[in-house]
């Protein structure tokens, strides 16, 4: 067996181990959301999160968020050791409130987006993204 394969297997194992430690992550996700919203209620309308159901490569997962009329959108990877991915801020001259990026996911987990609307309300969207070790289809 070559080093290449061994490294891949080890990476797969690391991902599986990380997925087993959600507690610490969840706590800091809640904290991050509370900090962003100031504890306000979260709606579910007006925000769209587009992510693959299963990541083709957990090291670079394409994520797109859109929330027409938002002033900011926060992105979280709930299962990562550091869940805070970043926050997109939209100024008054922004043509659209849409952003896409690529993020690294340590294992199967929920990706969460929170939009702050111009009227001060908040909306949340989330999707599970599966990170798999790959195998044999069809």
């Amino acid at each position: 067996m070559t080093l290449t394969r061994r490294h891949t297997l080890l990476a797969g194992m690391a991902a599986a181990t990380a997925a087993l430690l959600p507690l610490r992550a969840v706590a800091s996700v809640d904290e991050a959301i509370a900090e962003f919203t100031g504890g306000a209620d979260l709606g579910s309308e007006g925000i769209t999160l587009t992510a693959p159901e299963i990541a083709e490569n957990g090291n670079t997962v394409p994520i797109e968020v859109a929330a027409p009329g938002a002033t900011a959108i926060m992105l979280l990877a709930a299962g990562n050791p550091n869940p805070d991915v970043g926050t997109f801020n939209f100024g008054p001259l922004a043509a659209s409130q849409r952003a896409s990026t690529r993020i690294r996911l340590a294992g199967t987990q929920d990706v969460i987006a929170i939009a702050k609307m111009a009227d001060g309300s908040f909306a949340r969207a989330s999707q599970e993204v599966k990170v798999t070790i790959g195998g044999c289809g069809g």
Binding site: R5, L9, A16, E53, G135, C136
Partner: protein, 565 residues
């Protein structure tokens, strides 16, 4: 073959479904008729549009035996519903008589006995006869190839797909979508696409770097038939770089891309589509979910999971047609399209009984010509099988048991893993095992039979990971294969448990001891998706094993205990 033909004529059956009203009548209508080519092709032409669907042929250009699954478990909303019923339950559901040709074609039990009576199925030369007959009824019928066509045989491997493309070009499909074709590698795939005069479709085939639609694959294409504007959208297998080696086609990204699908349908409608057809390699449950989520699709021609269904499944106003695999079936769907909508359909799943349907001479000659240089190698008899060799089913089948035995002994391993693919024809007891037969169940462009060490903990991770690809209750998270086959390793699986908690009681069969999470085990397997995997090609491993054995008999496998099925 006269006697077999006479027997078949006396015995049986054809099918015709008339709109919604024919549901449940499939076999009763069928049983009243005798099995002849005319009967198999009989169809009361309907409406103004005809679709012909072929899918998952896996390079099986000549007639084969193919045993349908005995175990095909559905989870979540799909528990116990079509296509997740098998055997007698399947026959009762569709009113199929025991012992009938439909029993043989669509279900697994008494396979060897019925196989001897009814003979091989499929063959692209027979399919050519069927397609020609449909075109005689409706000259502008649209022929659609659902993919997994340029993969799966000795000849296809050695000609890098050329023999299949040559044959398919005679059949003249109008469009195609893809899965295993990508494992030819980007360069060869694009070369072959250049050679085919029909459209290469995939609304979910994206440029990996820019995450934009890939330029070599159109999302959809147009046909004008019977006064109707028809958009045919393609959907390639969504999880190619995960289930297959992404390093062979690094330029591309796939995925379900449901919102993109809705946008594509909306765009086609806004451009004047009277009918929207989705040529899909999603797999059946994924197509069913998509039909409920995406509005505006009239017909889904479903491939990938190899289900053969005698009647379409209706989801809202969308009909889903599943045409089986390995060339066993062709679907004909006649539609009435008027005032911008589909107002009626008539469908027939045509079983390709190779002893009943005359081969098309031109196609037979093309297949033979491409075969000729390899004939000696293909026909060489390596051994004989004692029992039926088959692959399909959620868990171990006899072909993979044989392959795992070969890996354990030839590669001196404690545990063997064989991928849960759904392709690969069957052999009847007493049949010779030829080199061609071995390649039919192993042929691929990443065949290296690796030998490595895995800890008990990692083996469980592997089994859990694959199990979630099959038994995740959300079809969008499924990949459409079967469970990885194991040799030397037993386990218990609760298919209803959540991810990561389905597998337990892992046992090393050679000692009967529980698998130790901390210990390393010597594992042999094949079809790794990782680049740089080393080992002899799996077909050489299997050939050596069969040659040494002479006659191969596979013991009944009870090493997987299934709970919640």
């Amino acid at each position: 073959m006269i006697s077999r033909r006479d027997f078949l004529q006396a015995a049986m059956a054809t099918t015709a479904i008339y709109g919604g009203s024919g549901f449940g009548q499939w076999s009763r209508l069928a049983a009243q008729q005798a099995l002849t080519q005319d009967r198999l092709l009989e169809f009361d032409t309907f409406g103004n549009v005809t679709l012909i669907h072929l899918t998952d042929i896996h390079a099986q250009l000549r007639p084969i035996y193919f045993r349908e699954p005995d175990t095909n478990i559905g989870v979540g909303d799909n528990r116990g519903v079509v296509p997740h019923i098998t055997g007698a339950e399947f026959r009762r559901f569709y009113g199929i008589e025991d012992g009938s040709p439909s029993h043989y074609a669509l279900t697994y039990d008494d396979f060897a006995a019925l196989g001897r009576e009814y003979g091989r199925m499929g063959g692209l030369d027979r399919i050519a006869t069927v397609v020609a007959a449909i075109r005689a009824d409706r000259p502008d019928a649209i022929l659609l190839d659902g993919g997994d066509t340029w993969h799966g045989s000795y000849l296809c491997y050695h000609t890098k797909g050329q023999n299949v493309v040559n044959a398919m070009n005679l059949l003249r499909p109008d469009a195609m979508t893809f899965h295993w074709e990508f494992t030819l590698g980007t360069e060869r795939l694009l070369e072959l696409i250049e050679q085919v005069p029909y459209e290469a479709l995939g609304q979910n085939i994206f440029d990996a770097e820019w995450d934009e639609p890939a330029e070599n694959f159109a999302p959809y294409t147009w046909f004008e038939r019977g006064g109707a504007k028809i958009a045919v959208i393609g959907q390639a297998f969504p999880y190619m770089p995960i289930a297959n080696p992404g390093w062979m086609f690094p330029e591309y990204s796939f995925g379900i891309r449901e919102s993109q699908m809705q946008e594509t349908v909306d765009q086609a409608r806004s451009e004047g589509a009277d009918l929207v057809v989705l040529l899909s390699h999603n797999g059946f449950d994924t197509d069913k979910k998509m039909a409920g989520q995406v509005t505006g699709i009239d017909v889904i021609l479903s491939g990938h999971t190899h289900d053969a269904l005698p009647e379409p499944v209706l989801v809202g106003e969308t009909i889903i047609v599943a045409t089986g695999s390995n060339g066993k079936f062709v679907s004909r769907v006649d539609l009435n399209v008027e005032d911008g909508r589909m107002t009626g359909f008539r469908h027939k799943l045509i079983p390709i009984f190779s002893d009943v349907i005359e081969p098309d001479a031109e196609m037979a000659a093309q297949i033979a010509a491409d075969r000729a240089p390899y004939e000696g190698a293909l026909k060489e008899e390596i051994g004989t099988t004692g029992g039926t060799l088959y692959r399909r089913g959620n868990f171990n089948g006899t072909w993979d048991d044989l392959i795992c035995d070969a890996l354990l002994t030839q590669r001196d391993a404690e545990i063997a893993l064989s991928p849960g693919v759904r392709w690969g024809p069957s052999l009847l007891p007493g049949q010779a095992i030829t080199r061609e037969d071995i390649w039919n169940v192993t042929s691929m462009t990443y065949p290296e039979a690796y030998r490595t060490e895995m800890t008990g903990e990692f083996l469980k991770v592997v089994l859990e990971d694959v199990a979630d690809n099959i038994f995740n209750p959300d079809p969008y998270y499924q990949q459409g294969g079967d469970m990885v086959r194991t040799g030397g390793l037993g386990y218990r699986i609760d298919v209803t448990a959540p991810a990561g908690k389905r597998i337990d009681n892992l046992t090393l069969l050679s000692t009967g001891e529980a698998i130790d999470p901390a210990r390393s085990y010597v594992v042999a397997g094949w079809a790794s998706v990782n680049e740089g995997t080393e080992g002899p090609p799996i077909w050489d491993v299997v050939e050596r094993y069969v040659a040494e054995k002479g006659t191969v008999t596979v013991d009944v496998n009870t090493s997987v205990e299934v709970v919640g099925g």
